[in-house]
């Protein structure tokens, strides 16, 4: 980030860039009701409602809720496969531990680093004690099956599984990007840790442009794959999945994270009631124009179904640049 370069605020406004303050007041404050937050802040609740809505989500291996149950983890993962530990109420990807495989009693991280059984237990203990939850509330640990990266993405991602972030406003997908992990981001898909963000065309799922650390790049820094050739398969299916999160949660301004499993296809990984603004940089495009467009849209008596909304987004919204 170059601290010396300042954009002209009127220029940003002209480009419809949404700022943090306006996001908080006009979109999160206005369209997300506070009592609905637990649905997305608590991943266990998210899993429950996703199941009710028949949306695919990563398979749950088990839940650990008390310090006394920590040892149960060894039974849960005794088959020797990879797994993921998540705090039920973590935020911003904090406290997520990915184990890609097990070898001789050691747990191997995607980066190749290994953890002992004690390390795993300590991580679970910390999570239950509330280290990663907001305000230090006591928490639960979710154990999930490891998502297997679709081979299609192998060229584009270093270690981690790429995840597709779709901003869904009043049920309409308005902007999308895919986050590719890098060596620098330690296999994590967080942009501020150095993951690559690739803006996606709403109509086709093709790459628009890519950024790392807010700078435009053309090739993946580790695999050297040309990022402009990236094309997300089953694009309409993914948008449908994202847009159904609106019916599921009733949250008006929502970030939906979707992963594509090699066997089970697209599934909802996580929902976010306060999605970040970096997606604008990845797309090279401000969010506000599309949000205002949806806000002004005349709605019929019966609210459009998710399929109608996805079609509208693919046909009309994608043209708004």
């Amino acid at each position: 980030m170059q601290w010396t370069k300042f954009a002209n605020p009127s220029q940003l406004k002209h480009r419809h860039v949404l700022g943090m303050n306006e996001r908080n007041i006009h979109f999160i404050g206005r369209y997300n009701q506070r009592h609905l937050y637990p649905l997305v802040d608590n991943k266990l609740l998210t899993k429950n409602i996703a199941e009710k809505a028949h949306l695919k989500a990563p398979e749950l291996i088990g839940v650990i809720t008390t310090q006394a149950d920590i040892k149960v983890i060894h039974e849960l993962v005794s088959n020797g496969d990879g797994f993921v530990l998540k705090p039920a109420q973590g935020s911003g990807g904090k406290g997520i531990l990915v184990i890609s495989s097990q070898e001789d009693g050691l747990f191997i991280k995607p980066s190749g680093g290994s953890l002992t059984a004690t390390d795993i237990e300590r991580h679970i203990s910390n999570t239950i004690a509330g280290l990663f939850s907001l305000g230090g509330r006591s928490d639960a640990v979710i154990v999930e099956r490891l998502i297997e990266c679709d081979p299609l993405f192998n060229r584009y991602s270093f270690e981690g599984v790429p995840d597709i972030r779709v901003i869904v406003f009043k049920g309409y997908p308005v902007m999308a990007m895919v986050r590719l992990s890098t060596k620098e981001s330690d296999g994590k898909a967080n942009l501020h840790q150095g993951a690559v963000g690739v803006g996606l065309d709403l109509a086709t799922g093709r790459a628009l442009q890519a950024v790392q650390f807010d700078e435009v790049i053309t090739h993946h820094p580790d695999t050297n794959a040309a990022l402009n050739e990236l094309q997300i398969p089953n694009w309409r299916e993914i948008l449908c999945l994202a847009s159904q999160a609106y019916e599921m949660t009733q949250l008006g301004y929502l970030g939906t994270d979707i992963v594509i499993d090699a066997q089970d296809g697209p599934m909802v990984l996580e929902l976010n009631a306060r999605p970040g603004l970096a997606i604008q940089i990845a797309n090279g495009l401000g969010l506000k124009q599309r949000l205002k467009h949806i806000e002004k849209l005349q709605q019929p008596f019966y609210y459009p179904t998710f399929e109608q909304r996805v079609d509208y987004a693919m046909n009309s919204l994608s043209a708004l640049k």
């Binding site: 170059q2 940003l12 300590r122 501020h192």
Partner: protein, 504 residues
């Protein structure tokens, strides 16, 4: 979406009411709009507490002289429900006496005095000898020791002041056996006073109050005053130096005790003080007004509470600054209002010592925390351990500072320890999750914010306005509400979104 009009109306109303009440206070009570050091008044309150024993009660408190170098008493008052109260002029100075036929249980009496700072008021008549009989009656070997000390000091001195200095030197000499004999039984001040009096040098033992704005529960410190022939010099046992009177008020110049209570036990007296800027007539008016039952301003509270509010009223200023830096500038801090607490600690420790202390404590704390994380502990236990580590660190720094004669280092104890422990814990997690870059960025943001808040909190004009014109708090509230309504870009976003705004 409800209309925003009532909200803007409320903001306008807050500003109007806030400015109006402030102006009213200026116009009605004559409080100047800006601090005016020519009219500085120290308001000092003595609070006497004792347990009455169901007998006739007589409490007597030594009072300060009405005229003393640099100060003039302009008004005094006492508040003591159901007690009879008189001012007594005794040969040894003025005293206030409270009396009551019978009283039971906890009793609290207040005496409040206002002193105008008057640097011109320096001329005081020389004292008449003898001021007092020698404090100690020394006989036998002690008399011999005293005589030999006096002789040694006399040999090496030329006037009253140098004689005093030589005596102090001798009384501090660990190899001097005469000194050892006297000091084993008597306090340094008593020995010094006795020897000076026996040499016909005017001196007196006094109870002194160090004037510091907003101090509460301050005790009287015993010191010695020495007449050089032209002026009073004050001997401070904590520095072992003779110096001219500074920011101190001589409260008790009597030979008797500071406080006598008959018919009660567990008596104690403590002092609170604040500095104000008003003219003497206005001061009188405000004191009169303060005693009216319908006066609901915080200026009608006892001084001890007023002194507390002087600090509390600065918190909104800090909150406004934090809100501004986060909403308009987009600065990242660790913990929203932690910088305010740190700034309040800085006010007590002074900036340089504060910053060094903070950096050292957090730095060492992070190292200790790094070790604790390997021990595989439960979270609550680990944070408790960090709290204890912080306390141990702070105490060892205080001891170290004391032995290195860095008196400022002692103020390190004023840091909010539990907040620091949490900060260390959070920083440590941040380090593991997001790397040292993020830790450095948030620490720098927090420290920067704390320094800005500190500068505001120590600014004389801001201190003066925030306490004397409570109405301005409503204006601050209005500004904070307006900030809460700001939907424009943050300064940091202008650089963050630079790639989006650069091309069109």
């Amino acid at each position: 979406m409800s209309s925003r009009t009532p909200f803007y109306f409320a903001i306008a109303a807050l500003i109007v009411v806030g400015l109006f009440t402030s102006w009213n206070r200026h116009a009605q009570n004559g409080i100047p709009l800006l601090p005016d050091y020519d009219r500085e008044v120290w308001e000092v309150e003595a609070r006497i507490e004792f347990t009455a024993l169901d007998r006739p009660v007589l409490a007597s408190l030594a009072l300060p002289e009405t005229n003393q170098p640099g100060f003039r008493l302009i008004r005094e008052a006492s508040s003591s429900p159901d007690f009879g109260m008189t001012y007594q002029q005794t040969p040894y100075g003025r005293r206030a006496e409270w009396s009551k036929r019978t009283a039971v249980g906890e009793q609290t009496l207040f005496y409040r005095a206002q002193f105008l700072v008057d640097p011109t008021n320096q001329d005081l008549p020389p004292p008449v000898l003898p001021l007092a009989a020698p404090k100690l009656n020394l006989i036998g070997p002690e008399r011999l020791a005293a005589e030999s000390l006096k002789e040694a000091a006399f040999e090496r001195s030329s006037n009253a002041l140098s004689f005093g200095r030589e005596l102090v030197k001798l009384l501090n000499d660990p190899n001097n056996q005469n000194r050892a004999l006297l000091r084993s039984r008597y306090s340094q001040l008593n020995v010094l006073s006795t020897l000076l009096t026996e040499t016909q040098i005017s001196n007196r033992l006094v109870g002194v109050l160090s004037l510091e704005d907003g101090r509460r529960r301050q005790p009287i410190e015993g010191m010695l005053q020495l007449w050089t022939g032209a002026e009073w010099l004050l001997f401070d046992p904590s520095t072992q130096q003779f110096s001219a009177l500074g920011q101190v008020l001589v409260w008790d110049a009597s030979i008797g005790s500071l406080l006598d209570v008959n018919g009660g036990r567990s008596s104690r007296v403590s002092f609170s003080m604040i500095s104000q800027d008003v003219t003497p007539t206005e001061a009188v008016a405000s004191v009169n007004q303060a005693s009216e039952p319908w006066n609901l301003s915080i200026h009608s509270l006892p001084l001890e509470q007023q002194a507390m509010f002087k600090t509390i009223m600065l918190i909104p200023v800090g909150a406004l600054i934090v809100a501004f830096l986060r909403i308009m500038v987009g600065l990242k801090t660790s913990g929203t209002f932690m910088p305010i607490l740190i700034a309040m600690a800085f006010v007590q420790t002074e900036l340089k010592v504060g910053i060094i202390g903070l950096v050292v404590i957090v730095g060492v704390g992070l190292i200790i925390r790094g070790y604790l994380s390997r021990l595989n502990l439960l979270l609550v236990a680990r944070i408790s351990a960090v709290i204890i580590a912080v306390i141990l660190m702070i105490s060892s720094f205080a001891v170290l500072a004391y032995h290195l004669n860095l008196s400022q280092g002692l103020s390190i104890t004023l840091f909010p320890m539990i907040i620091l422990a949490w900060t260390i814990e959070r920083m440590s997690i941040l380090w593991e999750e997001d790397g040292w870059r993020e830790v450095a960025r948030q620490s720098a943001g927090s420290l920067f914010t704390a320094v800005i808040v500190y500068l505001a909190m120590t600014n004389d004009v801001i201190r003066y306005l925030s306490f004397n014109f409570i109405g301005l708090q409503l204006v601050i509230l209005a500004f904070i509400l307006m900030l809460g309504n700001y939907t424009g870009y943050r300064l940091s976003e202008l650089t963050r979104f630079y790639p989006l705004g650069g091309k069109s």
